[in-house]
Symmetry: C3
Subunit: 350 residues, 3 copies
C-alpha cells in the first residue's frame, strides 16, 4: 500500500528538536533531518547530502546552518546550500536539500511529506488540551515493528481491552457494553459506555478507590487521517456514589516509519488548575499505562505483523466482526484519500 | 521445490503436547497450534486467528477450547469457532481454523498437512520398537538450518562417518566396506557391512570394551518418504570373540519447517527386558551421540545450506558418486510423489 | 554493476597463508580457498567441494592436498581431485576445483578472478617500497560494509581530510590548497600541495615537533584499476625550517568481497636503513592512523552504503563537484574496462 503523502504527520515531540543538536527520523520511508533554527523554529530537511549521500545528522549545526560531516558543504534551514568550501565555491543548482513544511503546536512538531505547495495550515488538527500554557502534559514515544494501520485498528477497537488487557486496564464488563461507531467526513468515532463495571485494580489504585469499586466508564476514541487518535475516558460513580468523576484526555498519534514500522507518539494531560494532585495523578497514570502499551499491545501488534509479513492485511481476507466497524471505516477513509491523491495529477509527491 | 503435502510428518514428540499449554511449530511453512483435548487426544489447528491474524498459542487453553489472546474468540478442537463474546455472538461461517489430521503412536504425534480427506491411516509408518509398553526410549529434537533433503542425504550416505565423524563414531574401516543400496517401492535402503573394524574409542567405552577392540559393524538405514529414517546398527564379535553382540535401533525423522530449515526428531530404544543395564546403556548412548549430531552433522549441513542458498541442490549440478546412490534414489522418490501430487487435480492443498 | 574479472586483486597478505592451515575469503562474490603448497607457493582454489558443496576450508591440509571434511575427497593444488577414497576410487571428470591464478610479491598475494588464460603477469602492479628485503613494513586489514568504489572515491578525494578527519589528520588548510588531477592511461592521480599548514597535533606528536608547527604538506594519491591506491605524503619545513623533511609511502588496496562489502588492505613502509628510529616511527604512524581509518572513514562509508542500499551510486544522480574529478575519472576507467570485458566474447569468465 502506498502512503498518503499530502497530510500532516507527527515528526517529533517538540522537546526532541534543539538548535544545538541534529537528529534524524525516517518518516514514510524518507530520512528526515530535524532541528531548530536560531529563532527556535523547527526545521525538517532531507537528511541525505546531495553530493555523496552522506547522512547530515552526523554533521555540525551552527546558527541554523548544517555542515555535512564528509566534505563540509553547508545548508541553511531552507535546504539551500549556503557554502561550498571547495575551489571557487561555486554552488551547483541541484546542491540543495528537500525542505519539508513543518508546524509546531502544543508540543507537537508536524511535518507534511507531500507537495509543499499543498500544505494546508487549516488541516492541522488542534489538541488544545495539550496546550502547555494551561495544562500539565506527559509525552511518550514507542517504536512499533508493525504497519501503522494495524496500530490504528487496535485503538479503534475497544473490545480488546477485555482480553489483551485482562491483566491491566480491562475488565469483564467491556464486551457486554454495546459498541457505537459513527463517521463524520473523514473522522471516525468509536465509543463504549460501560455500566456498573467492577473497575480493574490498577485503576482503583490510581483513583485511590477501594479494590472492586463499581463505576460507569465511558471510552470515546476519535480517529482522524492519517493516523491521529484522540481518546477521552470518563469514570463516573454509579447511582449512590455521585461524587466519583474523572475525565482523562489523551492523544495516540501514529506516523509510518516504513511499511512495517510505526512511530507511536502518545500524551496525557490535565489542566494546571488541578495543581499537585493533578500532577501526581498524571505521573501515576502515565506510569501505569506503560505496562499495557509496551507489554500487551506492542507484542501483539508485532506478532500480527510477523504473521502478515509483506502481504496486504485486507488481501489476506480477515473474517471481520461488527467490532471491527470503526477500524474498517477508518481504513476506507485512508484508501479513498490515497486513491484521490494518486488520481490527481497536480498532487505531485516529492 | 514445493513440498509433498499428502503425507504423514512428525509434528512433535508426544510429551511436547499438553492439555494445559498451547505451543506452536511451523510445519511446511505453516504455523500449527498443538495441544491436547480434555481426553488427551492430540489436536493440530492453524495457529492464526482468522479474525485479525493474532497468534493463538499466546492465548488460553481451557477444556480443549482455545481462546484468542486478542479478542477472546474461542475455537474448539475441530477448529470451529465455539464462542464470539462480542455483540449478539453471531459466528461468521469463515470463522474457523484449519484442522489438520493428527495421529499419535508410540510417542510420536503425526500430522497430515495435505488434503484431510486423503489422510491415509494405513500409510502411517509404525515403529514398534518405540512402543513404550515394551521399550525404554529416549527422544531428542534438533532444529537444523538446512533443507530437509540435505539432512536425508546425510543419513543415507554412511561413508561420511569416516570423515565427518572421524573424531567420534567413525573409523578408518568405513569406506573400505562396500555400500549396498536397494529400493522397494518408495522405500530406499542403504547398508554397510564393516568387517574387523577397530571400533572408535567412544563406542568401546560405551560397550565397556578395551580400546581398539576389533568387531564387525553392520549399519542399515531405511528411508521412507517424506523424510523418515530408521537406523539399525549391529556390533558383533569377530571370529574368536563370539559373545560380543549388540543391536541398536533408532529413528531419525525429518519434518520441513521451511525450505531451508528442518525439524529433526531422533529416538533410541532398548527392550524393557534389558533392565537397568539397558537403561544405563540407553542413557550413555544418547549422551554420546549428542556430539556427532550437534557438533559434526549440524554445522556441516548448515554450511552446505549457506553455500546453496536459495538455489536448488540438483540445479547446482553436484558431481555425484556411487556413494550418493541411496540419496539420489530417495530424492527421485520424492520428486515423483511431488509431481504426482501436483498433477492430480483432486488432491487440493489447504 | 558487474565486477571487472580480468584483473589482479589482492587476495590476502602473505602471512595469512600457511602450508598447515586452510582459510577462505570471499572475493568478487566467490568463496576462495587460500593456502600454501609444500614449496610455500600460494594456492587459490574454489572453496566449494563439487561433490556436495561442503566448505573445504573446514577440511584438512596435508602436503598441499586438501581433504574435504565431509567425504574425504582430496584435491591437489591444481584443483584436480587427487583421491576418491570410495568404492573403486574412480574420479569423475568434473570432480575438480576451479584454480585461480595467484602471484606473490612483496608480501601481497594477488589473485586473478577472471579467465586464467588471460592472466597477465606484466599487469601486476609492483610496489618495491614494500619489498621486505630492504624495508620495514606494517600490514593491516579492515573489512568495510561498503561498495569498493565508494572506498576508492574516498581515497581519491583529499578534501575530506578537513572535515571527516578534522579531529585527527586533517587541518583547516586542506581545502584552500588547489586539487590537481591527472590521468595517464588507466592510472589516475590526485594531489594536494598544502602551503604553510598548521600541522594537526597528532602529526606534530608523531614527528616529535612542537604543537602548531607550520610546514608544507604534499599528498599524492595514485589509483590503478581495479582498486589499487598508492599514497605518498611529504612533510617539508617552510622557509626558515629547512631541516624538516619526511616522506611516507603507503598502499591502500581494495578487493570487492560482494557488491556491498570490501576487503581493505593497507600497508606502510620505511627503508631498513632508517634503523630503530624508522621502526619506532613506523609503529607510531600505523597506530596513529587506526583512529581516522576505523573511526572516521569506515563509519562514513558504511552509512553512505546504507543510504545507497542496492541502488547504483551514479544512477542516484549525485551532485558532483570539481573535487570529485579524480574519483569520477577512476570510475570511468572501471566502467570502460568492465564494458570492454563484457563486449569481448573470448574473455569468458569462470
Amino acid at each position: 500500500m502506498p502512503f498518503l503523502h499530502n497530510a500532516w504527520y507527527v515528526a517529533a515531540w517538540a522537546d526532541e528538536l534543539s538548535s544545538s543538536t541534529l537528529f534524524t527520523r525516517t518518516i514514510l520511508g524518507e530520512q528526515v533531518l530535524l532541528y531548530r533554527d536560531p529563532e527556535g523554529m523547527p526545521v525538517a530537511l532531507s537528511n541525505i547530502c546531495p553530493h555523496r549521500f552522506a547522512p547530515l545528522h552526523k554533521g555540525r549545526l551552527d546558527k541554523g546552518i548544517v555542515e555535512c560531516p564528509y566534505h563540509g558543504l553547508a545548508f541553511n534551514s531552507n535546504g539551500q546550500c549556503a557554502r561550498n568550501p571547495h575551489g571557487n565555491g561555486h554552488i551547483p543548482p541541484n546542491m540543495k536539500l528537500r525542505q519539508y513544511p513543518v508546524r509546531e503546536q502544543f508540543g507537537i512538531v508536524w511535518i507534511w511529506p507531500g507537495d509543499a505547495a499543498l500544505a494546508d495550515e487549516t488541516a492541522l488538527l488542534t489538541h488544545d488540551f495539550l496546550d502547555p500554557a494551561h495544562n500539565m502534559v506527559t509525552m511518550r514515544y514507542l517504536r512499533m515493528k508493525a504497519n501503522y494501520q494495524l496500530t490504528i485498528d487496535n485503538a479503534l477497537d475497544l473490545s480488546h481491552l477485555q482480553y489483551l488487557h485482562a491483566g491491566s486496564i480491562g475488565s469483564d464488563s467491556i464486551v457486554r457494553s454495546e459498541p457505537a461507531f459513527r463517521q463524520e467526513g473523514n473522522t471516525v468515532w468509536s465509543t463504549r459506555q460501560i455500566h456498573s463495571e467492577k473497575l480493574p485494580n490498577d485503576i482503583c489504585k490510581l483513583l485511590g478507590l477501594p479494590n472492586e469499586t463499581h463505576a460507569n466508564r465511558r471510552l470515546e476514541v476519535r480517529c482522524d487521517p492519517p493516523g491521529l487518535i484522540t481518546l477521552r475516558v470518563e469514570v463516573n460513580g454509579i447511582e449512590g456514589a455521585p461524587t466519583l468523576s474523572y475525565t482523562t484526555r489523551s492523544v495516540h498519534l501514529r506516523t509510518p516509519e516504513t511499511e512495517s514500522t510505526t512511530h507511536y507518539f502518545y500524551a496525557f494531560s490535565y489542566p494546571m488548575e488541578m495543581g499537585k494532585k493533578g500532577a501526581d495523578f498524571l505521573k501515576n497514570l502515565t506510569d501505569m499505562l506503560t505496562y499495557p502499551f509496551e507489554k500487551e499491545d506492542l507484542p501483539m501488534l508485532e506478532m500480527q505483523q510477523q504473521i502478515i509479513g509483506n502481504k496486504d492485511f485486507m488481501s489476506m481476507q480477515p473474517t471481520l466482526l461488527p467490532i471491527d466497524g470503526a477500524a474498517i471505516r477508518a481504513r476506507r477513509v485512508m484508501d479513498q484519500l490515497i486513491a484521490d491523491e494518486r488520481d490527481t495529477p497536480h498532487l505531485k509527491q516529492a
